[in-house]
């Protein structure tokens, strides 16, 4: 992690942990540079990244101000992966339904951009938000990139394991979002009636090298989950 990213994280945590209200003016660049003992240009870069992340806004000639935080109970789409980690206000738990190593079918070959012989970890889980069912998750990891995974790891945070134990450099994600009506199998897993609607996320995760390593289909419980999205520019 670069210095400015580290400072950006520290400022973000400071705002978060102290529950700094919307509209609060941050200290000047000079003061932040003195506080964090880094150059002004590092502070400027850190603040620019926080503007683009939707955490603060800049009023030219006036200063940097804190933006609104996600309302209680809303999942922040700006930090939507690694849920166990990013949903600091929530208690997330998982129940593993299936765990296996498979060869991808045609659809998965496309979604994971892999070849038919590639070995793939398949994990099906129910995830809980506090005590409510949050989603049904089908997740696929390329074994060539994630060489070792167990049911026990999947019961906890796979994300934590990938970053801390395997030391993978996670990069970025693409998500495709639409509404589907549930079939009876998934409806039962979510404890909903058949043909209830669900928000579907089809998600591809990449390493920072640009390599695709994961495809996940998330089926969100429409009554238990709401989302929050901040954009840093209107255009």
């Amino acid at each position: 992690m670069l210095k400015y990213e580290q400072i950006a994280n520290e400022i973000e945590n400071y705002i978060y942990e102290n529950n700094i209200p919307q509209g609060t003016k941050l200290p000047t660049v000079e003061n932040l540079a003195a506080d964090y003992q880094v150059s002004k240009s590092t502070i400027v870069k850190a603040l620019e990244s926080l503007v683009l992340k939707g955490l603060v806004y800049q009023v030219r000639g006036s200063g940097i101000f804190v933006r609104k935080k996600s309302r209680n109970g809303y999942i922040d789409l700006n930090v939507m992966t690694g849920l166990t980690n990013s949903l600091k206000d929530f208690h997330i738990t998982s129940k593993v339904l299936e765990f296996d190593v498979i060869r991808p079918d045609e659809e998965l070959i496309k979604s994971l951009e892999c070849d038919p012989n590639e070995e793939v970890y398949m994990i099906k889980r129910i995830r809980y938000l506090n005590d409510d069912i949050m989603c049904y998750e089908e997740s696929y990891y390329k074994k060539s990139i994630v060489p070792f995974l167990t049911k026990e790891i999947a019961e906890r945070s796979i994300f934590e394991y990938l970053t801390s134990a395997l030391n993978l450099n996670l990069g970025f994600s693409d998500s495709y979002i639409h509404i589907e009506l549930l079939d009876s199998k998934v409806a039962k897993l979510l404890d909903l009636d058949t043909t209830s609607p669900a928000m579907i996320f089809l998600q591809q995760l990449y390493l920072s090298s640009g390599q695709l390593f994961n495809f996940t289909k998330l089926t969100y419980h429409y009554k238990h989950v709401k989302f929050f999205l901040q954009s840093s520019s209107i255009k």
Copy 2:
């Protein structure tokens, strides 16, 4: 607009208009600086903003690469306001159902963060994506910030009018997203059965000064609209 933002827009348009495929390496910072006749630091800032917008990714020691574009038919959540303008691949049209100046009720006072005496433009529209119904939209603008608006303007692009005619400096937006089952009135407007699901966006738009000036409720047709979301970091 600052110089680096202008360069970022030009690079974005270049990638977009030339349909540069995913994984393509961009020219070096040195070459881009020469091409655009600006300093290397301006190029670095422009590229950093494009990384955070999810348009390109950076591989340390290797270069900057183009990321995947929204699939055909998907609305990009990273550029979700000013639809007429941002959905370059789509033909967006609007039909105004109601247009009025009102005093806000209690709910709207909260959503627009205004006082009960504030005059507010109320616009109800159906928006079409190519020839399909895209959404039903209820939008509220503070008259103190948007002093003049007409039904004719609302038939076209309000966004275009705000930026080009009124010269407003648009800032950022907050969106709250959930699924609702339609009541009979809105179902009819969307040409769907009552209790069909819909993706609901509750959206607040701010000027770059941080002033809230608009609240919009968007009810998306669940069969005609899909969304795409790129995140620049996984955490």
